[in-house]
């Protein structure tokens, strides 16, 4: 069996339980969901209009500069130049070229790569963003250990959150990944079908929020542990297409 493929399968399996605990779609998938999308128009600083596909509550991203790619070993600097008008973030793809720990921005998101990631060619993380205040004088810092090699491709972007959609019953639906609070949150059911889980069902499954640390400990001790299941619906919130698993 192809060792690279086998390593990828193993990695997917190891991550499986955590995926099941957090079925909400990953940030990038929520942004670029292929089904049931709305088409959004976003005017750019230069007057051009970008047509972007995102789902309600998802993030619309417009690239405002040419991507810059830099490779390095140890600490390094990514020179992006002056930020264009309208930019509010830098979007980047990070690749570990050797095992190690890396940080983009100071302080910024960190990436840990092991040998298995390099072997499985899964050491690339795309669609990451840092706010503009991490860019100092047009430069973005990369922090890495001595001899730890990396590659970053980055560009200035303008981001905007798409408005939530409203179904026939007056409920809002869409992604909650970017701060929106829809009644029906986009989620993937345990059977792999994409749909929406009702916030009120999640609240019931997880129980009420504690109002004090003491109450939190009491609730934790009294809580039934194990998985709890909530229905996953189509966008109009009636037809059930699967179930969503949360760990209590």
């Amino acid at each position: 069996m192809d060792p690279v493929f086998a390593a990828g399968v193993r990695r997917a399996l190891v991550e499986r339980p955590s995926l099941n605990r957090f079925h909400l779609l990953s940030r990038s998938r929520r942004t670029w969901l292929a089904g049931g999308l709305t088409v959004a128009l976003l005017g750019t600083a230069g007057g051009a209009t970008a047509v972007l596909l995102t789902q309600p509550g998802g993030q619309m991203v417009t690239e405002l500069s040419a991507p810059v790619t830099v490779s390095g070993s140890g600490n390094g600097i990514l020179e992006l130049g002056e930020s264009p008008k309208g930019a509010n973030a830098v979007q980047y793809e990070f690749t570990c070229l050797t095992p190690g720990s890396f940080m983009v921005g100071r302080p910024g998101p960190s990436f840990d790569c092991g040998k298995e990631d390099i072997n499985a060619r899964s050491a690339t993380s795309g669609g990451n963003q840092v706010p503009l205040d991490m860019v100092r004088g047009g430069s973005l810092a990369v922090v890495a250990g001595e001899g730890h090699e990396w590659q970053v491709t980055a560009e200035y972007v303008a981001t905007k959150i798409a408005p939530l959609a409203i179904n026939a019953n007056g409920e809002t639906y869409g992604s909650d990944a970017f701060g929106a609070q829809p009644d029906l949150i986009s989620a993937m059911a345990t059977n792999g079908v994409e749909g929406y889980v009702r916030q009120s069902d999640l609240d019931v499954a997880m129980g009420p929020m504690p109002t004090s640390p003491t109450q939190a400990i009491e609730m934790q001790n009294a809580r039934q542990h194990g998985p709890a299941f909530s229905p996953v619906y189509k966008s109009y919130g009636v037809t059930v297409v699967g179930e969503f698993e949360t760990q209590r």
């Binding site: 493929f5 390593a7 399968v9 990695r11 399996l13 499986r16």
Partner: protein
């Protein structure tokens, strides 16, 4: 499988059921060579066999609450599932098609070692006509055939793995042997089938 090994795997499986991803990875390490060999045996194509192997393990996780262990091992369940996935590879893989497409593959030519493995452990053992006939067997019967004739499980254990009585398993295997004889597959494999089910 020795009792000791069975107990160790049983403990590993308990961790998987409790949601331990590393334990699931260890189960993959333990059995993926056997599962792949089986998929390759039936399908005769390395790429498809890899996809089927991945699918069998993903199904192992998805259906973890229903998995039957035999002597503490999930291998019989995996082999049965592999046979089922091979029987209808296209439909079974659909659930995981996005994931399978995203998994990296080596673009290097197959190593001499792998070529040798394919020749020695798969193609040289399998008459293509038999593989073709096997694919046409009913699902449960194909699983019984694989477990008994290829993997050397007893009929009783194979029956346990697929959830039928030993008597029913014997009847199905007897019909399979007749079907394979009628299909005029190579004498060697008809003998192999006879030998494995006695």
């Amino acid at each position: 499988m020795s009792n000791d090994t069975g107990e160790k795997e049983s403990a590993l499986w308990a961790r998987v059921r409790a949601g331990d991803g590393e334990a699931l990875g260890d189960v993959f390490d333990l059995h993926h060579h056997r599962v792949y060999r089986h998929a390759l045996w039936v399908l005769g194509n390395t790429h498809d066999a890899e996809d089927v192997t991945a699918t069998a393990f993903l199904e192992l996780w998805r259906r973890r609450r229903d998995v039957r262990q035999v002597e503490g091992s999930v291998l019989p369940w995996l082999l049965v599932t592999t046979a089922n996935v091979c029987s209808n590879a296209k439909r079974s893989k659909r659930r995981y098609s996005t994931l399978l497409a995203a998994l990296p593959r080596s673009d290097a030519a197959k190593s001499a070692e792998e070529e040798a493995f394919i020749r020695a452990d798969a193609f040289e053992r399998v008459d293509p006509a038999l593989a073709e006939q096997l694919r046409d067997l009913p699902r449960g019967t194909l699983s019984l055939f694989i477990l008994t004739a290829i993997e050397d499980y007893s009929v009783a254990d194979a029956a346990k793995a697929i959830g039928v009585s030993e008597g029913a398993a014997k009847t199905r295997l007897s019909r399979a042997r007749a079907a394979l004889r009628n299909a005029n597959v190579s004498h060697t494999y008809a003998q192999q089938t006879e030998g494995g089910t006695s």
